[in-house]
Symmetry: C2
């Protein structure tokens, strides 16, 4: 086990860790090396393929900037972000399921009165979002904070278009009363592509995948004594529901967007959130 | 299988690949996703650990430049480079074993006459390197090209110190005659650390590993009709032989560096190369 050999490669590498290594780091590195070497042995890459992998990882890192995180995109399109999210948010039947947080949340969005609109530019088809925040027994939760954000009619969040959209466009924070209800107006979200002009976009193209996410409204629902929920509601009927580039869709989160006749909005999306106690 | 679930995560991701995907790419991606998800399920990372992994990969990419390849370093210290090398250079018993190429070879080193020195700055303890290039039956190979390179007494290659060392210092190309013999003077190589001022160096420190490589002479031996050999000879007795940071040492490549009494060099390192036919 002292010197490297193909047969015992992972064991040789793992045996090198020092005795004082943090136990959690040791466990993670041991598993990483074991699975990584098993992958290499499965595919037996040529030297040229190994060089291509090095070049891909290098380009992915170099694409990262203050406004672009290509390694998170890579994690997203490989299903890793959703898997980590699922592992960390296992919930009992009946509780609202989590999905990925995404990169577009902004802390400190303005708190608005129930029923107010979050669409500051007025662009897009108006939609009423309403429902209740409940505990597992169906009781309303008072004082729950419902933080929402979405793209606009053109498929962009305000932070992506600081020169075009007003700040806090399609964002808002609502606080439930004694009935646990929330209600706000916004625009019907539209599907949009994840950034695909980098190495991750090239990879998607090479494996015959598109970069689109189905239309969704983001929710972060918090309440004292309950586990926070980070999730989306997805617009039923969207053509990308079954092929979300980041695998965010869960069946329970698909919500009909119903046309409204003669109402103050053109559409209505109703969804109740069910929180698990801490 | 349409929507993501923790249980079927890898299958859902792999099912998304398009029918027209190149078969080799499909096989590699399928294995990557399968092993990557198995790793995640084994360690169940917290959200904070996932964020730390993203940050590590990002920093590793951003450390790369024209003169620094941190992802190759990462591959090296995880034993991946040696594993890919081993997979691509399986040889019969008796043939000289390969080891990693490393980043310091330069094409076009001057061809020198047998017996000449490659040490242009004269620094270090002089050492005679000699031996033969043979086929599997022990017959000498005429016209074999022996391309050699090493660090100097201070542990640096010429390309790392272009303002200090003369170009082609400790490099040279030798061509065997009818006896298959090679012979050149150089300096006794010294052990040196891989670059450890980046994320890979921090990782090594956290798992209780040092960045040192044992002293070695690089050889690239080629001959018409034979598989090229990329390898090192390691100086027997080096304190880092059993803990080479990049796992390059194989037992068969450890060569005694013997003191010479009254010779033209202080040391002598003798090693025969045995090439496998193409």
């Amino acid at each position: 086990m002292t010197y490297f050999s193909e047969a015992s490669s992972a064991e040789v590498v793992n045996a090198r860790m020092g005795a004082q290594t943090d136990p959690r780091l040791r466990a993670v590195m041991h598993a990483l090396v074991t699975h990584l070497h098993a992958f290499i042995k499965d595919v037996e890459p040529t030297t040229e393929e190994w060089e291509a992998a090095i070049a891909f990882l290098t380009k992915t890192g170099q694409m990262c900037s203050d406004t672009r995180q290509e390694f998170i995109l890579l994690s997203d399109v490989l299903g890793v972000s959703m898997l980590v999210d699922a592992i960390n948010h296992r919930r009992p039947d009946g509780a609202t399921e989590n999905t990925v947080f995404g990169p577009f949340h902004v802390d400190g969005a303005p708190e608005r009165a129930m029923g107010e609109t979050i669409s500051l530019d007025g662009k897009g088809e108006s939609c009423l979002f309403e429902g209740r925040v409940l505990d597992l027994d169906g009781n309303p939760i008072q004082g729950a904070v419902v933080d929402v954000w979405s793209d606009n009619e053109d498929g962009f969040y305000d932070v992506q278009q600081p020169d075009i959209q007003p700040q806090w466009n399609n964002r808002g924070v609502f606080r439930t009363g004694v009935d646990g209800a929330y209600r706000f107006r916004g625009v019907k979200p539209v599907s949009y592509p994840i950034p695909d002009d980098g190495p991750v976009g090239q990879m998607l193209e090479q494996v015959g995948r598109h970069p689109w996410r189905p239309a969704h409204m983001h929710f972060l629902v918090t309440a004292d004594g309950f586990e926070p929920i980070t999730t989306h509601t997805f617009v039923a009927g969207d053509p990308y529901l079954e092929s979300d580039a980041v695998f965010g869709v869960k069946h329970s989160l698909i919500v009909p967007c119903e046309p409204v006749q003669g109402g103050e909005t053109a559409w209505r999306s109703a969804f109740d959130f069910v929180l698990k106690p801490m």
